[in-house]
């Protein structure tokens, strides 16, 4: 009974923080939620022009679908991480005056962005339809592996960034560069076939490579390779535990740092 009340309270606290984020985010924009769909779509368009038309990587099968699927997932991940840089400052008024569990803020960004991401899935299905690609059971099975991996990886990075940025604000500039490099080192717009054989082993060390490849398998070339995800899961778990450790060590002084 007491345990279940605690669970309900945690759930309510997360959902009220998510509701707040949604309301604030679209408070005074005309297109509102549509932006979270438009931005990755427009970015995919730019990538298509630059890499597909100008650099002629378009020979990759269904390159536009490759771009759109990759960009949506990458944006989801990158948004979660980047939002955590200022999450504590943005909620300073709450942090300084109420003693709720601060980890909920980090998880809140994950669920807010996750909700956005889920709402963009119809767009991806539409694009699949245009390319005549169909869902298969083997493809869909990948999602079961992707969700925990990306959750652990994104929240782990988020914990680390949220906590450290309070003590060391230079991190914001550093993270901009880190996330940009990470994007270029992941198969978001660069077809993985274009990666030279020599560096492929290093390229595969990046956990986002495995996540994006599995994600592509959902609807691009339907297949299921769980063995690849074992490595990704271990890395994601390590990042999560490390991030949580740092967060826990620094958390007691959060309210004093603002």
């Amino acid at each position: 009974m007491r345990l279940s009340r605690r669970f309900i309270l945690k759930r309510d606290q997360i959902s009220v923080l998510i509701a707040k984020d949604f309301k604030l985010k679209y408070d005074s924009t005309a297109l509102g939620f549509l932006w979270s769909m438009l931005i990755p779509l427009l970015m995919s368009g730019v990538y298509y022009l630059v890499f597909g038309v100008l650099m002629r990587w378009g020979r990759v099968e269904n390159y536009l679908l490759y771009l759109i699927s990759g960009t949506f997932l990458w944006q989801f991940f990158a948004n979660v991480v980047m939002q955590n840089g200022r999450i504590m400052m943005a909620n300073a008024a709450l942090l300084k005056k109420t003693a709720f569990d601060r980890r909920l803020l980090v998880w809140g960004t994950f669920f807010t962005e996750g909700a956005h991401f889920v709402l963009t899935i119809p767009v991806m299905i539409l694009v699949m339809h245009l390319f005549g690609v169909r869902f298969t059971l083997a493809g869909l099975a990948n999602i079961v592996l992707i969700v925990p991996c990306i959750a652990l990886l994104a929240v782990g990075c988020g914990y680390f960034y949220a906590a450290c940025n309070l003590y060391f604000r230079d991190l914001e500039r550093i993270m901009t560069i880190v996330m940009m490099s990470w994007l270029y080192c992941s198969p978001v717009f660069i077809p993985i076939q274009n990666i030279p054989q020599k560096v492929l082993a290093y390229y595969n060390l990046n956990p986002m490579t495995g996540i994006l490849c599995a994600w592509r398998d959902v609807f691009y070339t339907p297949s299921f390779h769980p063995q690849r995800m074992v490595y990704v899961f271990c890395v994601a778990l390590a990042v999560f535990l490390a991030g949580r450790f740092v967060f826990r060590r620094l958390e007691p002084r959060f309210a004093e740092m603002m």
Binding site: Q13, K23, A93, L94, L95, K96, K97, T98, D170, E256
Partner: protein
């Protein structure tokens, strides 16, 4: 009777005094200076060896000049400052009203803020929705309840804050100098509400510079000076 609501022994809370802010470059270029600064910067003692036991249902007034540690003490009791030396035991649900608009979001409406604040302070959504009509009724700010908070006057903020903090029926209520902005009618309403809560067993800690407020609400008045308790007298 029962165990005390709050037991504080030898509580010392220090803040690092930030002397000068170094960027990474300045830090590396002036490393010896930086290290000297850091080691010389003595921490600021906001609370210095404070021991205080507060029984359930007591009404305590905290007095003292600005910067004597009153708000720091409330923040430690409320669980916002978690790193200190000494021990602090708090039994029961705490509700805090520290400063105007504290724990609220400026962009959200009054109604949204009631939910946000109440839930973060430990009430479930269902409970808050049930309490909502009485909170809105008590705050009595009319149409403004659906307006964003930045349009509120300070009186309205005080009404909303007080209304939420008391409606969640805390075991311990911490109030920091907020009733002062309300008009006479509202202060009267607040006083009635506080009396009702206290007769229900709530413990009250009230920070105020107004001697008459302290006299009116509190049975015991603790005075702080430079982070130390300098007097602890009963008020009858």
């Amino acid at each position: 009777m029962s165990e005390p609501a709050i037991e504080i022994s030898h509580l010392t809370k220090t803040f690092r005094r930030v002397q000068r802010h170094y960027g990474l470059k300045a830090m590396l270029l002036h490393l010896p200076q930086y290290i000297r600064d850091r080691s010389r910067a003595e921490p600021f003692k906001a609370l210095d060896d404070v021991s205080l036991t507060i029984n359930r249902g007591e009404r305590i007034g905290l007095a003292g000049h600005n910067g004597c540690g009153k708000t720091t003490l409330l923040s430690v009791i409320g669980g916002v400052y978690k790193r200190y030396s000494g021990s602090v035991r708090v039994r029961g649900r705490v509700s805090m009203m520290l400063a105007l608009g504290a724990g609220f979001n400026n962009q959200l409406s009054g109604r949204d803020n009631i939910l946000l604040n109440g839930i973060l302070q430990g009430r479930t959504r269902a409970e808050m929705l049930e309490l909502m009509p009485s909170i809105i009724d008590f705050a009595d700010i009319g149409q403004f309840i659906d307006a964003p908070l930045y349009q509120y006057s300070s009186g309205m903020l005080a009404r909303l804050g007080f209304s939420v903090a008391t409606a969640i029926e805390p075991d311990i209520l911490l109030v920091d100098e907020v009733m002062a902005v309300g008009d006479a009618d509202f202060r009267k309403k607040c006083a009635t509400r506080i009396d009702a809560l206290l007769s229900g067993g709530t413990t009250l800690i009230l920070v105020s510079h107004s001697a008459s407020d302290l006299k009116r609400h509190c049975r015991r008045i603790v005075t702080l000076d430079h982070g130390r308790i300098v007097s602890d007298v009963s008020n009858t």
